[in-house]
């Protein structure tokens, strides 16, 4: 089966019932996408599917043939971190860092749609992502910071 992962064409040989999350992690060694619950509740497994955030633990690999998948490994711009990745570091928006990839993917999806989101929009967009370490307010600050950087880049 063919799909595009982080801009590269990829062929996977997998039972179509297998979940995208585990094909990414176990077959393609893209382990930045995390397992947290397997029931669509925690957002640790979030990837972009044709640009939209989805829970890869809820999607069978058979359903993504021919589609574009972006994982955390694919969001750097060359050697440079994505502005939201930088903002996470700057705002110290993590503790254990296990939720971080899913948070960043969800945040990027929001910023692509809404360049300058309000705090309420940020919280709403990230509501499905759990940070058990409780760094929520810092993550909101990081998305805000990235949005400001983005604005500057466009100016």
């Amino acid at each position: 089966m063919e799909l595009r992962v982080n801009g590269h064409p990829v062929t996977v040989h997998a039972e179509p019932d297998r979940l995208l999350l585990f094909v990414l992690r176990n077959d393609l060694d893209l382990t930045g996408t995390k397992y947290g619950c397997g029931e669509g509740q925690c957002g640790a497994c979030t990837v972009l599917l044709d640009g939209s955030p989805v829970r890869s633990c809820q999607i069978k690999i058979g359903a993504v043939a021919g589609k574009k998948v972006t994982t955390i490994e694919g969001v750097c711009r060359g050697d440079e971190l994505h502005p939201l990745q930088k903002a996470f570091i700057e705002c110290d928006a993590m503790q254990c860092g296990y939720c971080t990839p899913g948070m960043i993917i969800s945040g990027i999806a929001l910023l692509e749609k809404t360049a300058k989101p309000s705090n309420a929009q940020i919280k709403e967009a990230l509501q499905g992502n759990i940070c058990r370490c409780g760094t929520y307010n810092r993550i909101v600050a990081a998305v805000n910071l990235a949005a400001t950087h983005g604005e500057k880049n466009h100016a």
Binding site: F22, C37, I89, Y98, C131, G134, Y136
Partner: protein, 687 residues
């Protein structure tokens, strides 16, 4: 200040009691057994802790584990400070039983007060030795050289020798000592500042390999057959269908049954083809939990002073309950095990790498030096990862399959087969004089645990008892242990007394506090919160709580709102916190904020429901944890006491959250809730 020993003697409780309590505390903290032995003494030579390369890179070896509390960063700061090098020149090897000195485990907020000074001491010895050899080389007295940014400098001529150039001139195994003079916090260069998280870029890029991300050549994926219920015994089993599957290994060893397969899907399929019958036995349910605990005491330890209670005054009695809750680390238990002949290597997220090593050694009848446990920086723990079940399972499967095996627990397994923060019943009886002084205080904790029992208040007579009881679920450590429950009871009851006397909760606390460091944080929190001038909006309430534990001090002020539909929301939390000299202000604040969020879950909504040996809500959809929408506005006031030793900060800031919320809800509604979680008392819209 009284030492702990004289403090207890002055209470007349006797030393025997002291040791009993401390042992229980330690036993609980370590989630069971902890060991003492000659091989477990801290090595005193520099080589055991530090390595200096020719390039001037300092590698630090510590058995502690990084689980998100950012000790990789704070310990780097400690070593960089004493060696006078940039933090970038310091690397930490953590939690690797083959490389780091023995360590009891990462719990009890001990890293900062114990491991940091230990590493500082070693760094001081290394620095002083480097000074000596450089001075000898130059034939000048050590007093005429200085250290600067990884080099020794001749003060007169200005010539320099880098640390790296001197590295191999010293046999670091021979450099032993115990009394290097550590820098005063006021002289810290690197510690005391907000160094960003070490390796943060590995986390934001997904490069960091957690245990669950580890991959070994030829590795299989394992799953374990779980009993139908707790304490069930395997009656019959048929594994033949699974065994017939290509590429599947079934491993059976008494009641342990597991499978290993080429990928996670095949392992799942194989597991499903195993049919097993279990003999179950009747077990109590969460509905009967508190009466069960009360009815089944086994042993009590008491601390009390010997003066009889004064007569007269207002008498009050209340009972508080605390439910079982789960840690819910976002990375569930995970392990990769690999055998090489009779040697075993395991990568696993545990807070006790050396404890897990002993468990494995026992299970496989191997000497400990045949087993290596490595703890990659882990997706959080909160006291929930003291044990090594998953390591054991992966090792058994790997042995059976003859190939490396990875086991990652599902969320449901994590909710069911790990352990819980103990539930408890706490009874408080008090007598207060009309002038607002507390005459007597009787405190009985059933099952939840003995930590956080020291009262910061002046109490004329007190009796504090911890009753061990029989208990229905596997229970163990949790961030803050029972101190959260005990503070919930104590600080709720203090509020009840203040209300009964018609006194302001802040004024009542200030009047009765005896601990100055608690007073300082309480005043700081009240100021920031603007307690005295706060005007309450309709349906809003304000609450306070304060206390101390493990050498750190907190005060928490909360504002809650209750909607007309009785939906409870925590709007704002101010927490003042003091843990001696601050090592990393930003990370400290992050810990305090995180503890508030985690505390919020246990305070408002988290509770494990169980019946017939089964967990009834073993999924995130049925056991909600705080999300973005639940996060209150948070302000932290961090008091930096450079004159006092640094204490740990990962646990204590959680302790005031629940009582501050309960007290605020009382103010908002007049309803006093004495159970954790609190929100169910306000109706179903909260759960």
């Amino acid at each position: 200040m009284l030492s702990r020993r004289s403090f207890l003697e002055s209470l007349g409780g006797g030393l025997l009691v002291l040791w009993t309590l401390d042992e229980q505390l330690n036993g609980q903290e370590s989630g069971g057994s902890h060991r003492h032995g000659d091989d477990e003494r801290l090595p005193q030579d520099v080589a055991a802790w530090l390595h200096l390369s020719r390039e001037g890179v300092v590698t630090v070896f510590t058995g502690k584990a990084e689980v998100g509390q950012n000790i990789r960063t704070s310990l780097t700061q400690a070593v960089a400070d004493e060696l006078r090098v940039q933090p970038a020149a310091v690397r930490l090897v953590m939690g690797d039983t083959a490389r780091t000195p023995w360590d009891m485990g990462t719990f009890g907020s001990r890293t900062t007060p114990q491991m940091a000074p230990q590493l500082r001491k070693m760094a001081v010895m290394m620095r002083e030795q480097l000074i000596i050899v450089a001075a000898q080389d130059w034939h000048i007295p050590p007093s005429s050289v200085a250290v600067r940014n990884g080099s020794i400098v001749d003060l007169k001529s200005g010539r320099e020798k880098t640390y790296g150039s001197l590295a191999s001139t010293v046999d670091w195994t021979k450099i032993v000592g115990t009394d290097g003079k550590l820098s005063a916090a006021s002289d810290w260069q690197c510690a005391g500042k907000s160094l960003p998280k070490i390796n943060a870029s590995d986390f934001v890029t997904g490069k960091h390999k957690f245990s669950s991300d580890m991959r070994r050549p030829n590795m299989l994926y394992g799953r374990v057959l779980r009993p139908a219920a707790f304490n069930a015994k395997l009656a019959t089993i048929d594994t033949s269908a699974a065994e017939r599957m290509a590429g599947v290994t079934v491993v059976r060893d008494a009641d342990f049954v597991g499978v290993a397969a080429e990928n996670e899907w095949a392992a799942d399929q194989a597991l499903r083809r195993i049919t097993a019958k279990w003999d179950e036995r009747k077990q109590i349910s969460s509905n009967e939990l508190f009466s069960f605990l009360k009815a089944n005491p086994e042993e009590a330890t008491e601390r009390s002073n010997d003066r009889p209670p004064a007569a007269g005054g207002k008498e009050m009695a209340s009972t508080y309950t605390v439910a079982y809750i789960a840690h819910v680390p976002l990375e569930p238990r995970a392990a990769v095990a690999e055998w090489d002949a009779d040697s075993l290597t395991v990568w696993t997220g545990t807070q006790r790498p050396f404890g897990v090593r002993s468990d494995l050694a026992q299970a496989f009848h191997l000497p400990e030096n045949r087993i290596r446990v490595i703890v990659p920086d882990t997706g959080s723990a909160y006291g929930g990862k003291h044990t090594g079940e998953c390591a054991m399972e992966a090792a058994r499967l790997a042995k059976g399959a003859g190939r490396p095996v990875k086991v990652v627990w599902s969320r449901e397994e994590e909710f069911t087969w790990a352990y819980f923060r103990p539930a408890g019943v706490i009874e408080v009886e008090s007598v207060v004089a009309d002038d607002g002084t507390i005459q007597s205080w009787k405190f009985d904790n059933y099952n939840s645990g003995p930590s956080g029992l020291d009262s910061p208040y002046k109490l004329s007579w007190t009796s504090t008892r911890f009753h061990e009881t029989r208990y229905p679920l596997r229970q163990g450590s949790y961030r803050g242990l029972a101190a959260t429950a005990n503070h919930f009871a104590r600080e709720s009851h203090i509020d009840e007394i203040a209300a009964a006397l018609g006194m302001d909760p802040l004024a009542f606390r200030l009047k009765n506090l005896k601990e100055d460091r608690v007073r300082a944080v309480l005043e700081a929190a009240a100021n920031k919160f603007e307690w005295s001038s706060s005007k309450r909006a309709r349906g809003h309430g304000y609450g306070l709580a304060c206390g101390m534990e493990k050498g750190s001090f907190f005060a928490c002020a909360a504002e809650v709102s209750v909607s007309p539909e009785r939906k409870v929301r925590v709007e704002r939390v101010v927490e003042a916190f003091e843990c001696g000299a601050i090592v990393n202000p930003e990370h400290l604040q992050n810990q305090v904020e995180g503890a508030i969020l985690m505390g919020l879950g246990g305070a408002l909504s988290e509770a494990i429901r169980f019946a017939d040996g089964r967990i009834l809500n073993a999924r995130l959809s049925e056991y909600p944890v705080p999300r973005f929408s639940d996060a209150p506005a948070i302000e932290c006031v961090l008091l930096d006491r450079k004159d006092l030793p640094s204490a740990g900060a990962g646990e204590t800031p959680i302790m005031g959250v629940a009582p501050a919320i309960a007290n605020a809800l009382f103010q908002a509604t007049g309803v006093r809730v004495r159970s954790m979680p609190i929100a169910p008392a306000f109706g179903s819209s909260n759960v």
